[in-house]
């Protein structure tokens, strides 16, 4: 290993290469080899990035919740759990944003409009805002432990909130409008190659997510230890103020 290899290791580099290969093959399968859908036509090709990205976001927020729970439940609380939770939430927010954008592009082609007040879209938007709020709480002033405690509690509250929002939004839509667009995937009849492309997308994005989390939580560790080091310097200065040392 070179002395300055950043946040990478041979394992992450191998994973990174694998992800790149998978992304290229996903592009080939998704955009070239797979056939157009009978109903959706070529727009189905958006699904190969849209579905995996929302899938990844769900995994990310699930991981955030699990790590937050573990952090709070341990007697010896380790900040590593908090950092993984934070890294995962950040990447989750990225992927929700991606899926909202790709979803609305797909919607423009299919429904003729970028946004419909469909239950799934609306609750995904709320999911996005909720975790943007979570990230804002992580940035509040305080020590690492304060940040970890506050944000873990927030992540667990989000676990309560999201099903409630989802349920109520569902109820809201189902009573007000025919569920004509509720389930975009229901109409898709996937043949073998399309199914494979979608599956490939899920695997690719999941591995990409793992790679990103590994790197991000290492950067967070570095950020934390730099803040600690800054504290050491500040303590020394403060002692000198009094001429103790």
């Amino acid at each position: 290993m070179t002395p300055n290899s950043g946040t990478g290791t041979s394992a992450t580099r191998r994973l990174g290469v694998l992800v790149i290969v998978l992304v290229i093959s996903l592009a080939l399968f998704g955009l070239q080899f797979s056939a157009e859908d009978v109903v959706q036509g070529s727009t189905v090709r958006i699904m190969y990035v849209h579905v995996p990205s929302i899938w990844t976001a769900y995994i990310a927020f699930f991981l955030t919740a699990v790590c937050s729970g573990v952090y709070l439940s341990r007697r010896q609380r380790s900040l590593a759990w908090d950092r993984v939770a934070g890294a995962s939430a950040e990447i989750g927010v990225l992927f929700v944003a991606v899926s909202l954008v790709t979803g609305s592009l797909w919607g423009r082609l299919t429904w003729g409009t970028y946004w419909v007040w469909d239950a799934r879209l609306t609750s995904t938007a709320f999911l996005f805002i909720t975790y943007v709020g979570y990230l804002a709480v992580r940035r509040l002033d305080g020590t690492h432990r304060q940040r970890a405690r506050r944000s873990s509690v927030m992540a667990l509250l989000a676990v309560l909130e999201i099903p409630l929002v989802h349920f109520s939004v569902n109820l809201w839509r189902s009573l007000h409008q025919d569920a004509s667009v509720a389930d975009p995937n229901a109409k898709v009849k996937l043949d073998g190659l399309m199914l494979f492309s979608l599956f490939l997308g899920l695997v690719t994005f999941t591995l990409l997510f793992v790679w990103l989390v590994l790197h991000r939580q290492r950067t967070m560790l570095l950020e934390d230890s730099f803040a600690d080091r800054g504290l050491d310097v500040a303590i020394a200065e403060r002692r000198n103020e009094a001429g103790v040392q």
Binding site: D141, G142, T143, R145, Q146, A227, G230, L231, A234, I235, A236, R238, R239, N240, E241, A242, G243, V244
Partner: protein, 211 residues
Amino acid sequence: MDSVIELNDVVAVLGQFPALAGANLQVSQGEIVLLQGPNGAGKTSILRVCAGLLPIERGSGRVLGIDLVAQRDEVRSRVGLLGHSNGLYLDLTVEQNVRFWASMVNATEEEIVRAMSLMRIDGRLSSVKTARLSAGQRRRCALASLIVRRAEIWLLDEPHAGLDAQGRDELDSVLRNAVSAGATIVLASHEMERASALATRVVTVDGGGVQ
């Protein structure tokens, strides 16, 4: 004498700033310790650490035998802190404030009446909104709320600030009575003359440490 406060090389952080940079302090039961030092030396932070308000980032500390790192919450109910701010609700009257704080602890009616008369905030003053009071009157109100708490350790940050001469004498006698009843007092003050007459020991704080 047993040591009721014990701070060992305590570092405490406000944001990114080390308010305490390795402070050591031992206080025995029945002492009146005066913390003195320039502004920003860390006097307030020492009091807040002892009250269990400010977490210890590094080092260790015990108050009344309770570990400040692990069981900070349990320290709190047994100490009384009078900080820079008075902890009053400005939209409540003097009496409403004292009664509220008395209801947070098991204070009897008799204790409430006595504390209020001791601090001379009974009578006409008791029904005045705290927001209308002068700084010294607010200080009295806060002290009355503190007296009803019967704390084992009194942590006082500039308790004399804003009080008139008579008020200071009264406060001193309240503090002496508390000590003879078994309490321990740590106070930070710039009123060197008055505070040193009261104190049994003077400690100099500077640069976030104790010298």
